[in-house]
Amino acid sequence: MSDRLLRRALGYGAALTLALVMVAPFLWMLSTALMDEFEVYQAPPPLLPTVPRFANFTEALTALPFALYFRNSLILAAATVTGQVVTAAMAGYAFARHRFAGRTPLFAVYLGTLMIPGIALLVPRFLLVDAMGLVDTVAGLVSVELVAAWGIFLMRQYFLSLPRDMEDAARLDGAGEWQVFWHVAVPLARPALATVALFAFIDAWKALLWPLVIARSPDLRVVEAGVASFHGMYFANWPWQMAAAVAALVPVLVVFLVAQKAFLRGLAFGGIK
């Protein structure tokens, strides 16, 4: 075997191993979702169910009001995506293209917030939202993730990478600043906006801690909280929990596939020589 072939085989081997490591928990989740309630506890734990039990899905999803949870998660995700995309696009553009007093220090402050761990913000955020009387409301649920500093950072960098000529051309064509932003800058930034939207969606969809803290009534529970509740202090139904987790994953996959298309569309741009 030549050196080149050997190197290639080693490369593929390493990639395959990594891929397996990544996909193994997912496969185990899928396998567990199809097991009998007590099959899970055998020692050593079986890799595959003896008889796949698809009923776990319907049982898990009806044991708790998952339709309601999905709706709540969708509201949270939609609000987060909308809020982050709008604020990231506008603030990113302003930081990239407009000169105003305090621009650099302000941007440094925005970046600085990225270093604060989310868990450290939990209590202050709760106190703020409580002071506004929004605990246990939809507004309180969605309020804290409407702006993302990293999204603003990403959009700023993207706008900086775009040639200014198109915006200047639009200004000469008679467009005001708002029209330049809306008709030229935003369409050009679609790939970056898709990235912001995708990450915002995933973040919101897998949010657990904040929704648990802010939502007291079961009516405001999100999917992740529902999935977690199959695992109490004295009770655990692994197959149901895994079945609900698999179901919770479906919207993420759908959104990812849709957003991926937008990424590719972005690559086909070419108005500048």
Partner: protein, 349 residues
Amino acid sequence: MAALELRHLIKRFAGGVVGVDDVTLTVGDGAFTALVGPSGCGKTTILRMVAGLEEPTSGAVVIGGREVTHLPPAARDVAMVFQNYALYPHLTVRENIGFPLKVRKTQGAEVARRVAHAAELLEIGALLDRKPAQLSGGQRQRVALARAIVREPALFLFDEPLSNLDAQVRAQTRAELVALHRRLGATMLFVTHDQVEAMTMAQSVAVMAQGRVLQEAPPMALYREPQTLAVARLIGSPSINTLVGRTTGERFEGALTCTTTAAPHGDVVLAVRPEHLVLGTAIDAAPATVLLVEPLGPESLVRLRLRSGDVVVARVAGEATCRMGDDVGVRVAAGEGHCFRAGDGTRLT
């Protein structure tokens, strides 16, 4: 259409760099003026200040008698064609051309009529439904032009619009731009670093260096009567030959000698166009060695080394009779050659 006036325009960038240094220039109503100069000489900065994309440090921009120095671009009634065309990649050709009308809230039917007219003028009617990415460089150029003419602005600005085209398309587009200028009767300011473009298209050429306009004149006047050594060097291809020496009142004396009416001066640069160097064995010819002969078809360029070590280029009609390594005589044609002060490069008269 309208005349453009620049009055004592100065642009100082952050850090104190002077981009444009006290430029006063007038482009008459319906005139076609070119700004030519090496890159970094400030010509694009002038264009951007006229467009309103850059704020002058001081001075005034007047379009059609109205001072617009501090007005936003949209309020100036100016159209600009960018070096990279700056088409909107997400819009079709039709939408690109119609964009200036759309943002001005022009009625749909009127937009369609004027887009069709502009497209017809530039022969791009068949491309209206394509996206910029599907067009060749020359086609993008036409779309950019159509977008500029569609709203009939008072003034057209061109920022090196031909520099991204290949040689053949460029020559063709030059002729088309001149024809378009004649047809529209529009006032045009054209920026280029290519003196051939400036000379062939414009009615008047302003030569710039280091933020200043060195001379503004019709192309042939600029070529025949450069007022400074820098202008003489910037205009003409191949470059004008320069030799140092002195003038006595009747003659220039240096590596070559020639008659001149220039005042006596001790430190003089003689500038001679290649076509004004004559090869032959006349009495006053200086000896030289042929370094290279470049046949161009209708003419040939002969590169010569004088005894002084200076290298000059002579342009001779048809095929050159000499060869590389030959010893020949060379002299300045009677009445030709410009004398400049060596120090500041000003013309000696």
